[in-house]
Amino acid sequence: MFQFDSFNEFVQMGGHGPYVWASYVISLAVLAWLIVSPLLRKRKLVQEVVRERRREAARQSNPVSAEHVSQGKA
């Protein structure tokens, strides 16, 4: 059985609304971070590895020009 008569009462929780909702919102936000942050780190890592590979492949196929490119960037 739903314990509240109206949505408004559900939000207010008999005066304890701010405490209850603040607890749930803060907790869910920081816990969601535990899932989001590894996904972001993985994406960044994949990009880095692909870039490293491409640079290495360029260096192997044409050592002189690849040297120029990396020096030009630095």
């Binding site: 929780m13 816990l31 993985k42 590895v49």
Partner: protein, 250 residues
Amino acid sequence: MWQWFHRLGSPRWFYQASGKWLPWLSLLAAILLSVGIAWGLGFAPEDAKQGNSFRIIYIHVPASFLALAGYYVMALAGAVGLIWKMKLADMVMKSAAPIGAILTFVALVTGSIWGKPTWGTYWVWDARITSMLVLFFLYLGVIALQYSYTSQDAASKSSAVLSLVGMVNIPIIYKSVDWWYTLHQPATIKFTEAPSMHPDMFHPLLVMILGFYCFYAVALILNTRVEILNRERRTRWVLDMLLNSKKGSS
């Protein structure tokens, strides 16, 4: 037996196996947490003394459970890494530290918010609260040590030692409510006795605790997998997998 042990220690094997577990664990965690939150917020009966503020228990207690269980995971992984030089165990320990820190943070913050309408204050230096704060600092210490060495081996070794030394805090947290009877109430749930809660309030709590366990497993696996990729980024299998999936998806 030893073959199994070696396989478990192989980051590559763990990466592939955990990839199969992840969808199921995530689904289970999502279902348990959604059911538990809806049940706890809307359908569990109001507490006779505390009114609706008691609904914070459905976050506070599971988060505290996992903050402690997460410490066991971290210290155990640290010990395995120290004794058998198992690389995977070091990676698990490193991944467990921020997860534990966040769960401890959630336990402290929800407890503090709950304290205001119940005890009239956000914070007291009660034994249970103070020992949980120490737990939080232990987690932060392990995280800090991970980043204060240039050699990953030295970082793993010293954070494993810190997490093992920090184990002394765990029984203090458990016993704090019995040794110093100050403000925090004694444990609501004990393995040796029937719960002191009404079943209508207890069942959603059980669902939330199970949901938090599954969530913890998902978070730990996700973080460990990235750590594996990062440390094995020069190996053939990681390169093959990353470069092929990149080609396939784009």
